[in-house]
Symmetry: C2
Subunit: 711 residues, 2 copies
C-alpha cells in the first residue's frame, strides 16, 4: 500500500469514527420525541420535542469524577437498546387505584474516550407525559468505588420562560414561591424566609426542583427527579445567557457529591411537558412509574388516615412544646401551659372519636424541648422519656379503649446520629404503646456536622427510616426532609413529607400568600404527598392575642378545598377542637372527605392562579371536589361528566360567601346542597384567596329530599 | 480635691487594680511548686517548678470561642479556693491493688475582662508526681452553648530538650518514635509511616501526647491529658523560637474544635516531672487519679485475661480475613485459605484449653472483608452475618463445652455511623452466643465524613461504646481509637486500646525498631493499657515465604519480657499455636504470667534505651519481672529487695542466649532456674534487641529441688 492510498484510508476511518450519531425515541402516543446525539468529538447531548416543538435542546450528559479523577464527557457509543413497556400496577394507596406505566426505553451504552475506558449507560424512558433519564454505571473492571465531583446534566431551554421557583438550598425548601422569567431569577434577593433556621444559600442563580415553567407559547414544562436514593438531591443553576439549567448536587461535609460503587445508578431526571396545565399535575404518575415497586410485601397494615393533634395550639402560642412553657411557634415571650398533658391529649382523643378521626398527633410529649432549638446539640431527645405531666401508659390505654391511635412525634433536632442510635428503642416503645404512625422532624443544622438535609447521607437516612419503620409496621410522615421523588411507591409506609412551606408559617410569620397552594401541586407535590396541615378555621391569629397580625392567607372555604387540591393520604384537621366546634357545619366536610382515591380528575388549572380537582373515593361511588384561587376572585367552571352516567348525586357545596375575602372577611362561607349528575356543569365563584369544597354522594331517598338540581 | 491630688489618687487606684497577682500551690511532699500569675493586663499564666528548678515557665491559659465570638484571654480574678485531698481507692484491675490520690487543689475563678463577663475556672491539682489542670465553665447566664475555636493552653519549656515524639495527626498514632531535640522536630520529614491508611498531617511542628522529654540536666518531663471526654484530643505544636508547645485540638468536619454546654469541663492537661525515669512510669497513677471513679457498680464480671487468636496468621499471610482469600496483612498477592473457619477456630480453642488461655479472638468471621479496605464505604459490615465456613452456633457450643470464651471482633472500617446503627443487634448477638469481650477496629477514614479518629465526635463515640458495652456486660479492646487518658478507671470494662504502633507492623512493614518498646511505656502507656500483642516466637517472616524480609525487631526472650514491661489486663499470645509448640519451654512463661497485679516496681528505666519492671501477681505471692533493651546489648541490675523478707523464691529466667541478637540470632534463648530472696541482686545480660523474663514463685519442696542460689 502506497502512502497516498494509506492516507485516504485513514481519512475514511477517521470520518467513519468521527461521524456524529443520532438516536431517537418517541413516546407511545408519538407526541414526545427524544433525540440523542453523540457528536464527532464524543460529546453526548439530548433534546426533547413536544408535538414537534423543541422543549429542551442540545443538553449535556456526563460527569466529573473526583476519585478516580476522570472527566466523563466524551464517549464512544458501544450499543443502543430499545424496548417498549406497557403494564398497569396498583399502588397501596394514592390518587388512582391503578396506574399505567407505558413508555419506550432507550439505553445508550457509552464508553469513555478520554482514556479511562469506563463504561456508563444512559437510560431514557419516553412517556406520553415526558421523559426520564438516569445514568447507570455497570459493574466493570475499570470502575468499582468512585466519588462524584459533579454531574454535568443540563436542561437547555428554548426561551426565557416564566418560572415558579424557590431558591436553591442545601437544607431547606420552606420558601414562598417566586414567579419571574428565568433571566430574572435571583435567589439572593428572593423571598429568602428569615423564619427558616437551617438554610444554606450557595448561588444566586440556583433554584430547586420540582421547577415549573411556562413558555410564551403556552407550553408547560416541569423538571424534577425520581427515585432519589443513595445520591444527593439536585438543584438547578441557571446560565442566563443560554437559558440553560445545570444540575448542582448537594455536597457532603467535605465537598464531595456522592460515593458510589458499581453497579450504580443515579435518580431519574424528569422532564414533563404539556400544553395543558392540568396534564402536568396528572403526570405526577410518570414520576411514580420511574420508582421501584413496593419493597413491602404485605401492605394491608398501611392505612391512609386523618388526624388531629396537639400541635396548632403551640404554633398559635396557646400552649408550649416544652414543659417549662417557653417553646411556642409564635414570637411571644409570655409563658404558656404545656400542651402535651394527659388531660389535653384526652380532650383531643375525645374529639377524634366523636368525629371519626383516626389519629391524634402529640408533639412536645418528651423531655428535651427546653434546650434544643438552634443549638446544633447532639444529644437532646431520647424519644422515650415523657414529661412528668404526660402519662404514656394511661393515654395508650385510653386511646385503645376509644379506638383512636396516638401518633408519635420524633423531633430529631437535626441530630441524626443521635436519632439513629435511639431508633430501635424508640420504635419498640411505640409498638409497646399501640402506636403505628410517627411524624419525624429535622429542624436545625444536621449532625453529622457539615452534612446537609438534602445530601446523599441524609437521603440515605430518610430511606433508612422508611425501610426501618416498615419493618416495625410503622407509617412515617417526615418533616424538614428532602423533597419527595416518588419513593413512597417503594416504601408505601412513607405516607407523606413536609419538605415545603406548610400551613404552619401562617401562624407566626409573613405566611403563605394566597397563590401558594395553587403552585405547590405543580412543584413540591409532583414528587409526592405533602403534610400541609390544612383545615384552619380560625383564620386570624389576633383571637389568641390582640397584638398578633398573622393570619392564614385564605378563606375558610379554601381551607376545606385544600383537602382535595393538596393530595395526601395523611390529612390533618389542624385547627383546635374548639374552633371546629364553632363551625361544626363546615367541619362536616373534613369528617366526610376521603383520604384514599380510585381516580383523580384535574378539571382546571393554572399555576399561581387557580386549580380545581375532583377525586373519587377509593372503593366507593362518592366524589369530592376542591377548587381554589389565588388572591384574585374568579369564576371557575367544570363539567361533572366523569360521574356515572344516568346516576343522580347529592352535591354539598362549601363555598365562600358572596362577600368573603381572605383578608377582610375570611370566615364567611355558605353551605348549599343540590342534585347533580353527569350533565351538570359547575360554575363556582371563588372569593379573593377563596375556594370551594364539594362532596358528591350518590342520591338516595334520605339525602336528596327536597333538593333542587344544580344550575 | 485639687487636680494634683486627684491624679495621684487615680494612679494609686490604677496601681491597685493593675497589680499582678500570684497564687502558688505546692505538692504534698513540697517538691513540686505551681505558680499562677494574673498579670496587670489580666493575662493568666502558670509556671511549674520541680525541686525549685523551673520546668514550665510563664505559660498561657485561655480560649478563643467561635460561637459566641469571644476571646477568653484576659481575666479578673474573682476568687481562689484551695483544698487538700488524700484518699486511697481500689481499681477493679490494674498495676496496683490500691492507689493513693493525694494532691493539693487550687481553683481560680476567673471572669472575662474583654466585655463578655463570662465565668471560667481553672482547676489545678498538684501531686507529688506533677500537676494536672483543667478548665471549667460553670452554669451562668452569660454562657450556655458555645463552640471552641482554639484552646490557648501552652507549655513553655526551659530549653531545647531531648524529645521522644511522633507526628501530630488527626487520625492515627501508629508511628515509630523519633528522638530529637525540640528544635529538630519536623513532622513532615519524620518517619511518617506509609503503611497507615488513614492519616491526616496538619503541621510539621506538631507532635502528639503523651510527649516524653528529657532536659540537659537530666529532668524527665511528660505531657499528656487525662479524662478525655466530650472534647477532642490534644496535639502540641512547637514554637521553636521559645521552646513553647501550644495546644492544638483536633477539629471536626467543619473546622470547629468542640461544642460545649455549661456546666462544662475540659480534660486535664498533665505535666509529670521527675529526675528519675522510673518515677515517670510509676506516675501514670496521677493520670488515673484525675479520672472519674468507675461508673460501673458491679465490676465482678470484668476479668483481666489472656487470649490467642485467628489473627497473626492473617498478618503473616498464612490465611486471609476474607472468604475470597485475598485480604492479608502482608503485601503478597497469592490467594490463601480463609482463616476463620470452624475447624481452624476449634484448633485455637483446643490450644487455649490445653494451656489455660482464657479467650480466642477470631477476626474475619463475618461477611464484608472482600470489599472494605480504603474505600470510605459506609455499609460494609453488619457484625452478625458469618461467612459460610464459620459455624457460630457450633463454635459457641464447643467453646462453652471447653470453658473458653470466643472473643468477638467488630471491624467498623471507620464507618462509625454504620456501627452505631448495628451496635445493639451486635451486642445481643454476642451475648446470645456466650461472648463477653469484643475487639473493635476503626481502620480507614471516618464516616461521618470529615470527622477524625481523635476529634470530639469520635471521642464521644469511644466513650459511648465503653458505656454501652458495659451495660451488656461486655469488655472492650479498641483498635485505631484515640490514645488513652485513663478513662479505663471510669469504664473498667474498657480493658485496653491499641492507639499506637503495635507488634503487627513487624509482620508486614519496616516494623518497630528495637527501641520501640522502651519508649511506649513513657508515652502511649502513660494513658492506659495497650493491646500490643506480644509473644511472637517466629521472629523471621521468611519462614512463611522465602521472599519475605520482614521480622520482629526483638529476640524471642524480649517478646516474653514484654508481658511485664507493656502493661495490659488483656494480653495476647499472638503467635501461631504451631510456633508455640516448637518452643513450648519458653511458652511456659506466657502460661504462667499474670495479667492482674497487686504491685508494680519500676526497677530501672531510660526511655529509648532500657526498662525493667517487676510486678506482684494480684492476690498471690508470685512476682514477674521483665527487662528489655534497645538495639544495644547491656547489663541491667536490680535488687529484689521488694520480695518478702526471709522468704525464698524460685526464679525462672527466660533470657537471651549469650550469642543472641535480634537481627542475627533472635531465637536463641536460655531458661535457667535459681533460688532468690530479698537480698538477691540480679545482673541480667541483655542481647542487642533482647530481654529477660523472670517468674518468681515462692519456693517449696517440689519446685526448689536441686536449685542453686542466684549470684
Amino acid at each position: 500500500m502506497n502512502m497516498k492510498k494509506g492516507f485516504v484510508l485513514l481519512l475514511i476511518i477517521i470520518a467513519f469514527h468521527a461521524r456524529a450519531q443520532t438516536i431517537v425515541a418517541d413516546s407511545p402516543d408519538g407526541k414526545i420525541k427524544l433525540s440523542v446525539d453523540i457528536t464527532s468529538s464524543g460529546e453526548a447531548t439530548y433534546a426533547l420535542y413536544y408535538k414537534t416543538k423543541p422543549v429542551v435542546i442540545s443538553s449535556s450528559l456526563g460527569f466529573e469524577l473526583k476519585e478516580p479523577a476522570v472527566s466523563l464527557r466524551q464517549f464512544s457509543l458501544v450499543k443502543t437498546d430499545k424496548t417498549t413497556y406497557n403494564q398497569v400496577w396498583k399502588p397501596a394507596w394514592g390518587e388512582y387505584s391503578s396506574i399505567r406505566d407505558q413508555h419506550n426505553q432507550l439505553i445508550l451504552s457509552l464508553k469513555d474516550k478520554s482514556g479511562s475506558d469506563m463504561l456508563m449507560n444512559v437510560i431514557f424512558r419516553v412517556f406520553n407525559e415526558g421523559v426520564g433519564f438516569r445514568y447507570e454505571f455497570p459493574a466493570q473492571n475499570k470502575l468499582t468505588h468512585f466519588v462524584i465531583a459533579d454531574e454535568s446534566s443540563t436542561f437547555h431551554l428554548t426561551g426565557d420562560h416564566k418560572t415558579f421557583w424557590i431558591p436553591g438550598d442545601y437544607d431547606t425548601n420552606e420558601f414562598t414561591y417566586n414567579t419571574t422569567k428565568l433571566s430574572e431569577i435571583d435567589a439572593s434577593s428572593s423571598k429568602m424566609s428569615q423564619e427558616i433556621h437551617a438554610k444554606t444559600f450557595f448561588d444566586k442563580n440556583a433554584v430547586q426542583t420540582p421547577l415549573m415553567m411556562k413558555t410564551a407559547e403556552g407550553l408547560y414544562i416541569n423538571i424534577h427527579e425520581a427515585a432519589l436514593s443513595n445520591y444527593p438531591a439536585m438543584n438547578l443553576v441557571i446560565d442566563k445567557a443560554s437559558n440553560t439549567l445545570k444540575c448542582h448536587l448537594v455536597p457532603d461535609a467535605v465537598g464531595n457529591k456522592a460515593y458510589l460503587q458499581t453497579p450504580a445508578k443515579t435518580p431519574w431526571r424528569t422532564i414533563i411537558v404539556s400544553d395543558k396545565a392540568t396534564e402536568i399535575i396528572a403526570a405526577n404518575r410518570m414520576i411514580l412509574n420511574l420508582n421501584e415497586p413496593s419493597k413491602i410485601q404485605n401492605t394491608s397494615w398501611i392505612k391512609p388516615q386523618k388526624m388531629v393533634g396537639v400541635w396548632w395550639e403551640m404554633h398559635v402560642g396557646r400552649s408550649s412544646w416544652d414543659y417549662a412553657g417557653g417553646q411556642v411557634g409564635s414570637q411571644q415571650t409570655t409563658r404558656v401551659p404545656h400542651g402535651a398533658t394527659t388531660a389535653n391529649v384526652k380532650r383531643y382523643i375525645d374529639f377524634a372519636v366523636k368525629h371519626g378521626i383516626d389519629g391524634v398527633l402529640v408533639e412536645g410529649w418528651n423531655t428535651g424541648w427546653e434546650d434544643w432549638f438552634g443549638k446544633w446539640k447532639e444529644n437532646v431527645f431520647d424519644f422515650v422519656t415523657p414529661y412528668p405531666d404526660y402519662d404514656v401508659k394511661e393515654l395508650s390505654r385510653y386511646a385503645k379503649l376509644k379506638g383512636v391511635r396516638i401518633i408519635m412525634h420524633h423531633e430529631t433536632s437535626g441530630a441524626v446520629t443521635n436519632y439513629e442510635r435511639w431508633m430501635d428503642t424508640a420504635y419498640r416503645f411505640m409498638k409497646n404503646h399501640g402506636m403505628n404512625s410517627v411524624k419525624t422532624g429535622y429542624v436545625g443544622r444536621i449532625i453529622p456536622r457539615g452534612e446537609h438535609h438534602d445530601g446523599q447521607w441524609m437521603v440515605n437516612h430518610y430511606n433508612y427510616v422508611a425501610n426501618k419503620t416498615s419493618r416495625y409496621g410503622i407509617m412515617v410522615d417526615m418533616h424538614e426532609s428532602v423533597r419527595l421523588t416518588g419513593m413512597h411507591r417503594t416504601y408505601p409506609n412513607w405516607l407523606a413529607s413536609e419538605a415545603a412551606r406548610g400551613n404552619e408559617f401562617n401562624a407566626w410569620s409573613s405566611g403563605n400568600p394566597p397563590e401558594h397552594e395553587t403552585i405547590l401541586p405543580f412543584t413540591r407535590l409532583m414528587g409526592g404527598p405533602m403534610d400541609y396541615t390544612p383545615g384552619i378555621f380560625q383564620i386570624k391569629m389576633n383571637v389568641y392575642d390582640p397584638n398578633k397580625k398573622e393570619q392564614v392567607h385564605t378563606t375558610l372555604a379554601k381551607q376545606l378545598a385544600l383537602y382535595i387540591t393538596m393530595y395526601s393520604p395523611l390529612q390533618m384537621a389542624a385547627d383546635l377542637p374548639e374552633n371546629y366546634e364553632k363551625h361544626i357545619d363546615a367541619f362536616q366536610f373534613i369528617k366526610d372527605v376521603a383520604v384514599d382515591w380510585d381516580d383523580t380528575k384535574v378539571l382546571s388549572a393554572e399555576p399561581g392562579d387557580y386549580l380545581m380537582i375532583a377525586r373519587k373515593t377509593r372503593g366507593k361511588s362518592s366524589w369530592f371536589i376542591g377548587a381554589i384561587t389565588d388572591e384574585q376572585a374568579r369564576m371557575i367552571s367544570a363539567s361533572l361528566a366523569f360521574l356515572d352516567r344516568g346516576k343522580t348525586y347529592v352535591a354539598t357545596l362549601y363555598r365562600d360567601a358572596d362577600d368573603a375575602d381572605w383578608e377582610k372577611n375570611p370566615h364567611a362561607y355558605m353551605i348549599e346542597k343540590f342534585l347533580v349528575d353527569g350533565a351538570t356543569v359547575l360554575n363556582l365563584k371563588l372569593a379573593p384567596g377563596g375556594g370551594t369544597a364539594i362532596s358528591i354522594m350518590p342520591a338516595d331517598t334520605n339525602n336528596s329530599k327536597g333538593l333542587k338540581k344544580y344550575q
